[in-house]
Amino acid sequence: MSKTKKTKDYKSSSTAAYFFIGPAVISIFIFFFIPVIAAFVMSFTDFDIYALGSFDTVRFVWFNNYLRLFDDPLFWQSLLNTCYYVVLATPLSILVSLSAALLLNAKLVKLKGIFRLSYFIPYVTTLVAVAIVWRFIYHPKFGILNYFLGFFGINPVDWLGDPNLAMPAIVLMSVWKNFGYYMIIFIAGLQNIPEDLYEAASIEGAGGWQQFKSITLPMLAPTTLFISIVTIVGYFQLFAEPYIMTQGGPLNKTLSIVGYMYNEGFRWWNMGYSASISFVLFFIILIVTVIQFKQQKNPLS
């Protein structure tokens, strides 16, 4: 009797479980997994503007899209630009956010909440809106950045119009926008460091810099790794900043991978080719993520 009851219970409860997970799992399958698989298939086809009218015109071209990418100077340009952006923006973001976290973690500081808030505000605000604001901040004649630089005797600079400066200008804005987020994570990391480590070190006569080097930095290593991965993955998806501030120019110097994918797919409707670009992006992000999984043995526990 008790045995049959148990099996019945188990059965009814697993029906309930399927009822609970159903809506989420089904929507993730339809609107995420199926599109990902479809994108993979598309990347081996010549899906283009004619195919939008009639799917019959689509042909498998196998690896041709990927081979074409190899010979496409604009693709290499976008890849190079994006890497340049990531390589510049990642360490800068980490440096600024770590410094801010250390400052706000100092015991001397009162009113931490207010400073933390003002550093954090840019992160929650709408990227498109702040990119528009920064576009005017960078204005060569009336922009406030050149105005402030004028105090230091620096002549007006055409930030977004100079091919060599446009990407660094976007980097600067990104650091301003994002450092508050990483700062919060760093503060959490700093608060997890046991206080007695520092006490022991000061008894042994270690100075501030030495404590930072031998306690703070090593103890923050997992946090720093996590932040690096999140930053790199996020920064590789650069799109809205150049779209608003430079439209990929000047001389395609701020064209990003996602920007190129968008142009090819949704401007020129070369959707097969565009899909292959999106898979290159996926591949890059996958490599970065695998490094994280390797470093942190069990991400679920």
Partner: protein, 269 residues
């Protein structure tokens, strides 16, 4: 002395992070052409609201505002409902394939969403749903990040509570509704906040999926305005203000939950 230096530094750097917003707000209250002056003005001499009038009367900003607000609200409510049910079941039920399914769903976290956009566009276009609210809502129905956070929280809820409710004759859904949801409230607020702000701020997919001006969300409307009105900083700043202010207000009211969420997302991984 050290303290003075520290505070000076903190105040200057906070000012730097806030100056763009101050300039934005002040320029938005200037008449045409008044923000394009040298040296820049940080407080308008005459406060005028003509830019806001222009946005509302001629550019239909109210409609975009409504679109953004409506979509963010719907996505938040639906995703909270779907994610919380799934997170609860993954934590507290034993069913066939549970762990495998959960691992499979984790792929959701590493594939960049841009990959799905081309087929999603074609799928929705073939059923006539491009340029509808539906096109935005379907991409936000559920996500593994939300399921994961709720699952983690539900794991901390003692089984005895659920057993007790069962003894009292509560159905599975009643337990979810009356026991689990109230206990998970802090996580739900955090997740809801993420999802509201995420939908409000989202750009690339709305740019692709919403093709008609009357359907634009604020970021899409702003970007299209930007490409036409490059020379009207005052108007663009007013547009930025109405886009950003709601975000800042929502964040300020619920910042405790937001900050906690940022920390949960990082510490758990």
């Amino acid at each position: 002395m050290k303290k003075v230096l520290l505070y000076t530094f903190l105040i200057i750097t906070s000012a730097i992070t806030l100056i763009p917003f101050i300039w934005m707000i002040s320029a938005s209250f200037m008449a045409d052409g008044k923000a394009s002056v040298y040296p820049p003005v940080f407080f308008p001499a005459d406060i005028v609201i003509e830019q806001y009038n222009h946005l509302l009367t001629r550019l239909n900003a109210a409609r975009s505002f409504f679109n953004s607000f409506f979509l963010s609200t719907v996505v938040t409510l639906v995703s909270l409902f779907f994610n919380s049910m799934a997170g609860y079941a993954f934590a507290k039920y034993r069913f066939k394939g549970r762990n495998k399914l959960f691992s499979l769903l984790l792929i959701n976290m590493i594939v960049p969403s841009q990959v799905t956009m081309l087929p999603l566009f074609l799928m929705l276009k073939s059923v006539g749903l491009i340029n509808t609210y539906f096109a935005i809502i379907v991409t936000g129905l559920a996500n593994i990040f939300g399921i994961f956070l709720i699952r983690q929280h539900c794991l901390t809820i003692p089984d005895s509570l659920i057993e007790a409710a069962k003894m009292d004759g509560a159905t599975d859904f009643q337990i979810y509704r009356k026991v689990i949801l109230p206990l998970a409230l802090p996580v739900l607020v955090t997740l809801g906040l993420f999802s509201f702000l995420g939908t409000w701020n989202d750009f690339l997919w709305p740019l692709i999926a919403l093709t008609d001006e009357s359907m634009y969300t604020l970021p899409v409307a702003l970007s299209s305005l930007m490409l036409e009105h490059t020379r009207d900083p005052e108007l663009m700043m007013a547009g930025s203000v109405i886009t950003i202010i709601p975000v800042i207000v929502v964040f300020l009211v619920l910042q405790r939950y937001y900050i906690r969420g940022v920390m949960m997302g990082s510490v758990k991984e």
